[in-house]
Symmetry: C2
Subunit: 271 residues, 2 copies
């Protein structure tokens, strides 16, 4: 039995000429679902829409998509639902779309993965692989993810739980699969994502929750030198939630103050 719905049909197969495969011409979302309910679905759909707009990908089946997310999440205590929208099958070779492509909609359901790191021992280094700078694609969760694939390979080989990635220009951007929040004597801050990186849903939830609670977070450019005086780091994505980093580049980080406070504020508001 397939766990995927592709353009509404229960199947595992896509055409090899799909531009998602040929060029990575599409966007995706990973949605955490609890008790059959898709958490922060409106925010996921908003980001998806922004990505589709940026790629000028004319997808309009949001109603069908929403129904499919619900139907795959239904009856499950917790799972991840992944949505991929590609520009669809190419009727012609070549990078440029002709304009008559019909988007492919893939909605698939996945078991909630086992966490690798024992609580209290989350280790992070700095990735050797750097992120190419492209303001046009910055923030989007698009299908061109080779940099993250290569960084994750090195991360796992190094026995790390996550790696902090820098841009080609040396700016701190985030983890291979998460966003980063850092705190020093001046307070909490997170990298701006105007050059590259993915604007995570949990990052947005943290920023909005902090704002509502009067906890200032500066969104700014962060150099690796700025990490020197850091007392707390936590990484975010919808699966990890707010994951405190216990070891950064081999040195211990003992504070989990901000993460603990923000986590409970978020859980209060989204039980």
């Amino acid at each position: 039995l397939s766990t995927a719905l592709i353009n509404g049909l229960a199947t595992d197969y896509v055409d090899y000429s799909d531009r998602g495969l040929q060029y990575g011409d599409g966007v995706f979302e990973t949605i955490s679902c609890f008790d059959g309910s898709a958490r922060w679905l409106a925010l996921h759909l908003e980001r998806l829409r922004a990505g589709l707009d940026r790629l000028r990908l004319p997808f309009d089946r949001f109603d069908a998509l929403t129904n499919e997310v619900h139907s795959l999440a239904e009856g499950k205590q917790r799972c991840l639902v992944k949505v991929i929208i590609t520009r669809g099958t190419a009727n012609r070779r070549g990078y440029g779309p002709v304009g008559d492509e019909r988007p492919t909609r893939i909605v698939s359901c996945h078991e909630w993965p086992a966490t690798r790191a024992p609580s209290g021992d989350f280790r992070m280094n700095v990735a050797e692989v750097r992120l190419g700078v492209n303001p046009l694609l910055a923030g989007l969760k698009h299908l061109n993810r080779l940099e993250q694939v290569l960084a994750q390979m090195q991360c796992v080989a190094a026995g790390m739980d996550e790696s902090l990635m820098l841009s080609a220009t040396g700016q701190v951007i985030g983890g291979t699969m998460s966003n980063a929040f850092l705190a020093d004597a001046s307070g909490l801050f997170t990298p701006a994502l105007s050059e590259c990186g993915v604007a995570g849903i949990m990052r947005r939830v943290v920023l909005e929750t902090a704002d509502a609670a009067g906890i200032p977070i500066r969104v700014r450019s962060v150099s690796i030198a700025d990490t020197a005086g850091v007392t707390e780091i936590f990484m975010t994505n919808v699966r990890l939630g707010l994951q405190s980093v216990n070891w950064f580049n081999g040195s211990p980080l003992t504070s989990e103050e901000y993460a603990t406070r923000l986590r409970s504020l978020i859980n209060e508001k989204n039980p």
Copy 2:
């Protein structure tokens, strides 16, 4: 009837969980075939191997692949055979491969496309979309091609035949689907591809042919300012061959000297 062989089988379908689709985790080649013969196949396979090595993608079915290219090209006067190798179906969610993936091999045959530009009227502008800098992926023909997709969309909308792409750091790299050779009073030169760009097979053939014929070509970093005094530009890929640019940013380029000379040297050697 399918025109594709996927892992040796005549089918059009790949699993949606293939890492090629999920992350663009793979490489490809486009091979020009004449009279049933795959031109420069050894060079294509060499670049493919280099790309697979760089991505640590353990593909070893080169014999099967070569047979499949030949079998699809057989009996055709001219066609393009496209090869895609991905890391294969993911047994687990997440950017990092587990290590037990089996690569997917897609070999497909395509009609030789009609050329859009009438001879003598090839127009090129400078793309707004810039190429992210990533030395680790530079030169490879990998499946992360969103930058080219976006640049091609703008290229076509502007009524151009090709667009010259700059890197995020402002260096001239090449076309959206071709490499660039430029000539000024100092001679012929082509952009170095250590930051980004695809190291095209025809680019290599041009460089080796020129070298053998004693025509110096400097491979160097090229800024947009360096294009000011240029008298000739030609773009290369295995389909276009050596395509002279007749209009660059609205100004005419009248010389086709180097392109004509190199084209005939290449044709002599590869009848």
